[in-house]
Amino acid sequence: MATLIEVPPVLMLIENILFMAAALIYLAATIGYIIYVRGNQEWGSFASLVLKIAFGIHTLFIVLRGYNVDRLPFVGHYEFGNLFIWGTALVYLWTEWRLKEKFYAVGAFITPLMMLYFSYLTIIPSLIPAIVVSRLHRPLPPVLQSNWLSVHVATSVFGYAGFTLAFAAATIWLVKHYVPATGVLGRMFPSHEALDEYIYRSTGFGFLFHTAMIVSGAIWADISWGRYWGWDPKEMWSLITWFVFAVYLHARFTRGWTGKRAIALIALGWVAMLFTWVGVAWLLPGIHAFG
């Protein structure tokens, strides 16, 4: 049964323009950060400014999308994907603002990940016909008409954003390990110790919100479906992601795991997170099929 909200064509056009503009300016920020890590110090703050502009336009897009669908734009792959990218940009910009030492190099690794997520909303569906990311404006089904939706999705966005940030820093750690310390990249990247801290803090941030996402989902499921845990593939993969990052946090704190073993766990956790978001939806259908 097709259920669509009628949106005035002009608003639809503005929505699409804002989306494309945000994507293109994020791409420009990505290029800026990459120029920075190639040894051009002055590009760091400029790339950061471009990222802030992209983030602002993306915020406008999300607000307009919410206006057009007359609800919080939190449902389906398109809306969640946008929110996830927006959350990742927000968390990264927050770290840039919060930390005295600006880790612009992290920007050179997190913005390509954001572009990868953008490609899932734009290019990948046109390359793989089995993947359909609908941009249609749909009303909220009654089961999702709950305040818990906003808590569940918002915590999930920040959880995923924290893990993405950790993975970006982990990638830098690994690259730095293999490039000469005196080379351009070796000089532009933060120290291994700083990156290790960065990874740990980002994982901690993501882990707190990911746990909050699981807890809020359980409470909501208890209210809506009469049970807090249904062994649904999405629930299970969220838990698996939680397990992997829990192992990393414990291994780091109690066993002193840093370096390659810790990086491997972060990479595994990020893959599990990505599979929870994308893989489960297309390969393991369950009750979370709202996309």
Partner: protein
């Protein structure tokens, strides 16, 4: 002797640990915990590749999966118990004594030169306070030490989160042992009994309220009266996202369905009868039960695609039609569509039978459950989140200031618990504050 003492007590060197202590240490070890969590992750990942019902029956409910969960809980319990003593010592009995050498070897360190006439340690103490540290002055064999700390709550984060998780797991176990979970329901003026807790549910009314867009699943409001014996416990309305709760029991709206009502008339004898059926039921048309209609789907707003496939336009009950398959023995005689109030005569070995859809009843399906572990689950979850917040957002930091070899320099060092990310910036602030105070003199 308490369990914590048993685990944490130290033996004289060379004396072997008792078997009990070795066992407790093994089951409470972090290595075992990490191994069990990874094992759970791998098994769970494999289980998600199976059919969900199969996975629930053969993996998630299996004795070995539950055993791994139990071992993980035991590991968590012992880990939590092991931490109590050391954690309190760490938080409340800090080592406030430091020499110049030990301060120099801390993760962050600065030597600050002072020109003023006052004792530089007093200036350091004021700067520590300004940085939001709780300051104490200790006298040691090496001289005076200014000790400052903040974020003490952060030490308890790990304990609180582990305890919270443990409460969640025990709450889930308690809920499974003491509760039940079943599916039941009915149409208007029917009742069902929940024997597990000895109460009856009477459905007094069911209302369907369409969404603005009728293609959206409508809301169903079901009025129920719950009674135990002669006593009415409550009268309330159950709808999606709004369950009814009493005495630990919960009645949730699970779904709704239509029960079509058919009238069968034997053309030869004029004998007639009506019955309700649901999707999947068989409407037997002869006494030998060889000819029957297999009810497949109730279409509330029936339409047909150009290729002849029937479908529901939306959830409105505008054109009710039942779709089914006419069967004779095991042989299909073709699809059959039965619109409301339009009879069809079907030939059977026993004679002709008139079949007519005369109406339909809206029925609600409830999920009825009792879970006494729920308060523990949610309380434990809150504690878990609080613990994680304390772990990752409250970072304990400790700073030491000692006099240098000459009276005009102080050595300041700092160390953190879990993280050193903000130590350097705080120390820089303290140093700047001391320099500013010196200049002001």
């Amino acid at each position: 002797m308490r369990l914590t003492d048993t685990i944490n007590s130290k033996l004289p060197e060379g004396q072997p640990e008792s078997p009990l202590k070795q066992t407790l240490r093994f089951f409470g070890s972090m290595q075992l915990g990490i191994f069990l969590i990874l094992l759970l992750a791998v098994i769970s990942a494999y289980a998600t590749l199976q059919e969900m019902e199969q996975a629930i029956q053969y993996i998630y409910s299996s004795w070995w999966y539950l055993s791994i969960l139990s071992f993980t809980s035991l590991n968590l319990l012992l880990c939590t118990v092991q931490r109590i003593g050391p954690m309190f010592r760490l938080a409340y009995r800090p080592n406030k004594i430091a020499s110049v050498d030990s301060v120099k070897s801390m993760p962050v360190y600065r030597e600050v030169h002072c020109q003023g006439h006052e004792n530089p340690l007093d200036t350091a103490a004021q700067a520590f306070k300004r940085a939001g540290l709780r300051v104490t002055l200790a006298k040691t064999d090496f001289g005076h030490v200014v000790f400052g700390e903040r974020g003490r709550l952060g030490y308890f984060g790990s304990f609180a989160s582990h305890l919270g998780l443990l409460i969640v797991l025990l709450g889930a176990l308690y809920g499974v042992v003491t509760g039940y979970d079943l599916t039941n329901g009915g149409w208007i003026d029917t009742r069902f009994v929940v024997q597990e807790d000895n109460f009856a549910v009477h459905i007094t009314d069911i209302r369907m309220v369409q969404e603005e867009n009728p293609a959206m699943r409508p809301r169903i409001y079901t009025d129920v009266t719950v009674s135990r014996g002669e006593e009415v416990i409550l009268q309330d309305t159950v709808s999606i996202n709004y369950p009814v709760r009493f005495d630990g029991n919960t009645i949730y709206h699970s779904t709704f369905l239509f029960f079509p009502v058919f009238r069968l008339t034997d053309i030869a004898t004029g004998e007639t009868g009506s019955s309700r059926f649901m999707e999947g039921d068989r409407i037997y048309l002869d006494s030998q039960r060889t000819t029957y209609i297999e009810v497949q789907k109730f279409y509330s707003h029936f339409s047909m695609r150009p290729d002849g496939t029937p479908y529901n336009v939306d959830y409105r009950t505008i054109r009710p039609v039942v779709g089914g398959v006419l069967m004779q023995g095991r042989e299909s005689k073709g699809n059959i569509l039965l619109p409301l109030n339009k009879s069809q005569v079907i030939a059977t070995p026993g004679g002709e039978v008139e079949v007519m859809l005369t109406g339909y009843d809206l029925a609600t399906v409830f999920s009825v459950s009792k879970n006494l572990g729920r308060p523990f689950l949610f309380g434990g979850s809150l504690l878990l989140l609080l613990g994680l917040y304390m772990s990752f957002f409250i970072t304990p930091e400790r700073y030491y200031a000692v006099s240098g070899d000459n009276a005009h320099s102080i050595h300041i060092g700092g160390r953190g618990y879990r993280s050193h990310l903000f130590l350097a910036s705080t120390l820089k602030r303290i140093e700047a504050d001391i320099m500013q105070r010196e200049e002001a003199k």
